[in-house]
Symmetry: C2
Subunit: 322 residues, 2 copies
Amino acid sequence: MNMKGIKIFSPATVANLSCGFDVIGLALEIPVDEIFLYKSNNPGIRINKIIHGTSFSLPNDPKKNVVFVALQSLLKKYQQQQKFDREKKIGFEIELIKNIHPGSGIGSSAASAAGIVFGANILLGKPFSTMQLIRFAMEGERLASGTAHADNVAPAIMGGVTLVRSYKPLDITRLHTPNELWISIIHPQIEIKTSDAREILKQKILMTDAIRQWGNIGALVAGLYQENYELISRSLEDVIVEPIRAMLIPAFYELKIRCKEIGALGGGISGSGPSVFMLSKGNHTAKAVTQVMNHVYSPLKVDYKTYTSPINKQGVKWDEIF
Amino acid sequence: MNMKGIKIFSPATVANLSCGFDVIGLALEIPVDEIFLYKSNNPGIRINKIIHGTSFSLPNDPKKNVVFVALQSLLKKYQQQQKFDREKKIGFEIELIKNIHPGSGIGSSAASAAGIVFGANILLGKPFSTMQLIRFAMEGERLASGTAHADNVAPAIMGGVTLVRSYKPLDITRLHTPNELWISIIHPQIEIKTSDAREILKQKILMTDAIRQWGNIGALVAGLYQENYELISRSLEDVIVEPIRAMLIPAFYELKIRCKEIGALGGGISGSGPSVFMLSKGNHTAKAVTQVMNHVYSPLKVDYKTYTSPINKQGVKWDEIF
């Protein structure tokens, strides 16, 4: 391997895909975090530079950075596996260009964590499986949100639409992704902490609501495989979490109603918010939907950002640096 | 149309497919109810003969028979649509060979209701859509169980594996059916009323359980489309209804454990019981699984019957009678 290093493009993701709360997520083409990662003979992990693509700050202590924690988790496992070669010194140098706003609800921490372990795996000669990479990246998520969840790192690493069937044991499958499925995102720049968004949820729910939700999930998965956009549209209904969390997001219902009027298939809260996503069939409709998002938010006294993206079928992408 | 009548073969079905409680069902090749249906100019619906393939009795009053109620519902709609031709007299003569034991939990009432409306639709020149036929047959279910549910009549009419996404509006989709999926059924001849089986369920459930259930449903649907038998197997887990209803069925857990040991993918309670189903990959394993069911039940003081069947992809079948 003559690579000096690797440049990684790690995508934003939408978790909690409507009825697929806690289980279904998907990867976007934009925005992406960019990571320059170099393998060195100098043991340890060094974050040499963080360039902030948007206005926010990350923890000064590198050990509180998700890329550090995720990479450390990978490196520890690597060194356990290479016992016979314990003397071999391995370290990593990192430069991170952070384009995905932390706290946006589109998988900012997941993108950094997924990108770094994906890149390190390539530089080490691919000793780890996709499922192992997801586990390492989940350690970054544990740092960021208190829970080692997989619903953002899985689509970031695997691409497309993913389903986390179970955590014990970890069981993740990639679903079929229709070609014409596009996503519009609006990120209102207000703060919602994942932990707060969790706390307002009920511990018990009505059986009738749960049945409606799992009917919708089954139909959403079937709709993806059938490439049946009408079925996808009808299935994008969350009767359990959205009614509670919607109050956290300014103009949520107006957004949803007006986006559907212009042709969106449906949507909901991305992750634990504050971003809102809408799915559409085709680029043209998706752009019109994003435009409507702008119209709804421009009169409000809230800063916001919008994105229009196809589904990213590949997930993390990379270039060699020679 | 020179047909004198039609002979209909309407299949048994498994509803409440494990994690797919209340939403996923599938059709069997055996057992089937056989119905001879003749159109006549003598208005009214007459059940001329009921042959009992097994030892049980049906209501003497024909108006309390599901075939009568389902067919009446179809005929009423037909006559509304044919207003211009009100004078035209239409009636039906029925002979019913009842092979599916009422109260068995494999869709006995649904088979009769689905078969009769399917057959009548053909004799009338197919004026009704599949979704309309399901609605008529659901009226039979309302009579039989107090609820107009669709999770048996849908697979009986559509064939294969079906998913009821919603009742309001009625939204049913047919899922992909892997070719090698076989079913073993054991019907312990004890009585469980659907209404009783409903009453013991909880009205509220834990959010964490609900999430686990919908992760499983999503993965089960994905497994069917991927023809991924291992994923299907892992997804056949019901953490909500089965733990409560299992107590109603003698030796339920022993059945389940021993069937899985011999190679069954998984299974659960069929409908609201008492039948238990197991899915297998291939005829050979399915037969071995049915054999194990026999071994588990033969020492018990309970009469029982077993079946081994592929999935019935067509649903109701028929022959013309000239």
